[in-house]
Amino acid sequence: MKSSGALLATALVFVACGRCSSRSASPTPDAAWLEGRAVPEVGATPRRGGTLTVRVGVEPSGFTRIHDRYAEGTMVRYTTGTLYETLGRVDPRHPEGPLLPWLASAFTEGEALTVTLRPGVTFHDGSPFSSSDVKAVLSAITAAQNPTVAMRAALGELASVETPDALTVVIRWRAPPTPFAVRALLGGVPMMPEEALAGDFDTLPIHRAPVGTGPFKLSSFVPAERLVLARFDGHREPAFLDGVVVRFVKDDTVAAQLWERGEFDLMTRIPPATWRAVEQQPWAFTGYRRFRTDENAYAWIGWNQRRAVFADARVRRALAMAYPAEVISRAVELGLEARTTCPFLLGSTSCDPEVKPIPFDPEGAKALLADAGWIDGDGDGVREHGGQPLAFSFLMVTASQRQAKVVPLFQEQLARVGVSLTVEPVDAAQSIQRMRTHDFDAAAMSWSSPDAVTDQFELFHSSQADGGKNYVNLADPEIDALLEQIRAAREGDARVALERRLHRRLFDAQVYLFLTARPALDAAKRRVHGLTPSLAWYELAKVWVEP
C-alpha cells in the first residue's frame, strides 16, 4: 500500500514537473501575431494537393447571387472567385481603382461598353464560355418577372446586349450609364451557362447546384452542415488545393471549441472576445497565424423615421450622445474596431475627415432632449412630449453575442438620460424581415461590400424605402439629390466632393448611429500558405497546404 502511494506521488511529481517545464518553455506570440498582421511568406514553394477546411458562420440559402433571395453579402465573398467569376475584378492592391479584366480580356467604354472575352474559358460542366452566356445572364437579370430586383437596380436600364461574335459583347444603356452601373456589371455579375438559365428562373437547379467558371466546382452540399468544393482542373490557373470543405457552424462558441480541437484549417469571423482570449493560449499562437483584415464593413443602429419618437433630429443626436462608445470598445470590441461616421470605406477619400464621432455626453443629451421639449413631467424616469413617452423597442438578434452586450450597455445609459428602451428578442431572419417591412422602432445591423467603391443610393434614397434597403425610411430631399448627383458623376474630385457632402449630411441627419468599421478576424493553421486577405475575402485558388 505504501509503495503504491509512493509510486502515485512520484507519478504526480513527474506530471507536475512535466507541466512546469512545458510552461516555462512555452513560446510567446510576437507583435505581428498579436496584431493579426499578415507576414509575407518567403521561400515557400507551393505544392498541389490537400484539402482546406473552412469555418463559415452563415449558411447560404442558395448559390445564385443574382436572385434576390440569395443575394447575401457573405455569399458575395465566398462564391466570387471560388465557384463563380465575373468579367472584371477589384484590384487587390488598389481596391478603389478601376477593375482588372478577369473573364474579360479587355473592356472599353464609349457610347457602349464593349467587352472582349478571354478565350478558352470553360464552365465546370465542360461547356465553353462565350458571349451568349453573358447575354443570357444579363437577360435573366433584366427580365422584369424575375426576382432579380437588387441586381437590376444596380445595373441600371440596359437597352441592348449584342453578341457580334463568340468573344465580344456590346452592352448599351438607355441613358449614359453611371460608373456604379458599369462597375456592378463588370465586377458583380457572376457568369453562368446559358443552358442553365433556361426555364422558370425561380426554380432553376443552378440556384442549388452552381455551375460557374471558378477554380473550384461544387462537389456536394449538405444543408446545415457542409459545402464541399473540388478543384476544377479545366480552369486556366488550376488551384493548388484538391478541395475545400466549408463547414457551417453558426454558433461562435461552438465554432471556437471546434477550432481549439483543430477541426478548421481556416477559422473565420472570430469574435473579439475569442480573439483576445486565445492570445494567452499556446495552442493558438504555435499552431495558427492570425489575420486582422480591414473590410469595407460598418455597424450601425437605425432609427425608423416612420416612428414619431424619432422625428426630431435633436432626439436622434441625443441618443447618439448617450451611446457609451468607450465602454463598448473596452468591453465588447476590445479595442479591435475603429469608430466611424461614414458609409464609405473607412479612410477613403469619400469620407469627410472633418466629421468626428459624437462623444459620449449624457449631460449634453439631457440638455438637448429638454431643448427639444422632452421633459420628465410625471417623475417616472422617462421623458414625455405631447403626452408621448420617449420610449421605443429595439430588435435584438438572440444569436448575436455582440448585441447581447451592446444593447444592455446602451439601454442603461439611455435610462439615465430619461429614455426607455425595451428589448425585443428576435432571430436573425425575423430581424431582417421586420426591417425590410419597416416593422421596427430601432435595430442594429451592419453593411459590408467586397468592393471599395459603393453606391449608397439603395441604402439612403427615399425611392428605396419600399423594396430597397432604406430600412430606416429616410426621406431627405437634399440626400436624394446628392445620391442622384453622385450616381451621375464620373470618378474624380467632383464625385469625391459630392460623397463627402453626403457623408456630412448623413451624419447631421443621424438616422443611422454609425458605430464601428469592423475588421475580419481570422486564423489559419501554420501549414496553410498563400492566404492573402482582401476586401473580397481570400483567393482560395492561390492557397496551398503542407502535408
Binding site: A273, T274, Q281, V332, M396, A399, P408, E412, E424
Partner: protein, 318 residues
Amino acid sequence: MSARLGAAVIALWVALALGADLLASDLPIAVRVDGRTYLAPLWTRPAALQAETQPGLRRRAEWMIGTLVEFGPRQTLATTGTTRTDAPPFAPDARHWLGSDDIGRDVFARLVHGARVTLLIALGVVLLSSLLGVTLGALAGWKGGVVDLLLSRALEIASTFPTIFFLIVVVAALRTPSLTAVVLVLALTRWPEPARLMRAEVLRLKGLDFVLAARALGASEARILVRHLVPNALAPVIVSSTFAVGSAVLLESALSFLGLGVAPPTASWGELLQQAHRSLVTPGAWWLALFPGLAIASLVLATQAVGKGLERRFDVRR
C-alpha cells in the same frame, strides 16, 4: 437530500428572492445627501437620485445605509465605478464576490434578482397550470360522457405538443416577453399532468360511499365536487406540482438560455448560463457557469426532495 433540507433550501431561495433588493441594489436602503434624507430610495427611485450609484453616494453622503452588495442587477461596468482596465467578465474578488458577467454586471446581484424571476415564474406556472388542470380534470372525471371525451382528447393533444418548439413559437409571437406572458405560456404546456391525475382520482372516488352519502343528504353536484371530491383527490396533484416546480425552473432556464425568456436586461439564471456558454473558450469564465448552475441544481434538487417527502407523507404513487 432530505425533505426537510429541501424545504430549507427552498425557504432560503424564497428569502433571498424576497430580499433581493436589500441584498443587492444600485441605490441604498436609506441615505442623507445634499441636505435631504431619502428612505428606501431603492424602491421609491427619486428623480434626484436617478443617475446615482451607491459607491458615488457613499463618498458624499452624510450617512447611508447601503445594501449588502452595492450593485444592482442591471448595473454594467459603465456605472459600477470599476477602475479595472481589463475587459469583463471579472473573476470573483472582494468587489464582485461571485464575479461579474461579460459586461461587468455583478453575478451575485443577478443571481438573487434572478431567483425572484425564476421563483415567480416557477410558482406562477405551477399554480396556474394546477388550477387549470384540477378544474378541467375534475370536470372530466365527474361529468364523464361527452365532456370527459372532449376534455380527455384536448388533454392528449396538449400532451403531445413539443414543449420547447411551442414555447419558441408563442414567445416569438409575443415580441417582448413579459414575466406574465412567460408564466401564461409555460402554464399552457403544464396543465395536462395535474388534469390527468385529478381526472383519475375523481373517477376513482366518485363511486365511493362518502359521495353516495353526500348525495343522499341532498348535496348539490357542485358541492359534492368542490367540497368532497376535489379536496380528497388533491394529494397526487400536490405531489406532482412540487415536482413540477423543479421542471418549471429548468424550463424557464432553458428558455432564457435560448434568449426567449423574460426580455433583457431582466436577470435570470438561464441568461447567466447563456453568458457562460459565450465565455466557454479557454480560459473561460467558470463563475458564470458554476454559480447559476449550483443555484438551479439546488432549487431543482430541493423541490425533488420535498416532492418525495410529500409522496411518502400522502402515500401517493406517482
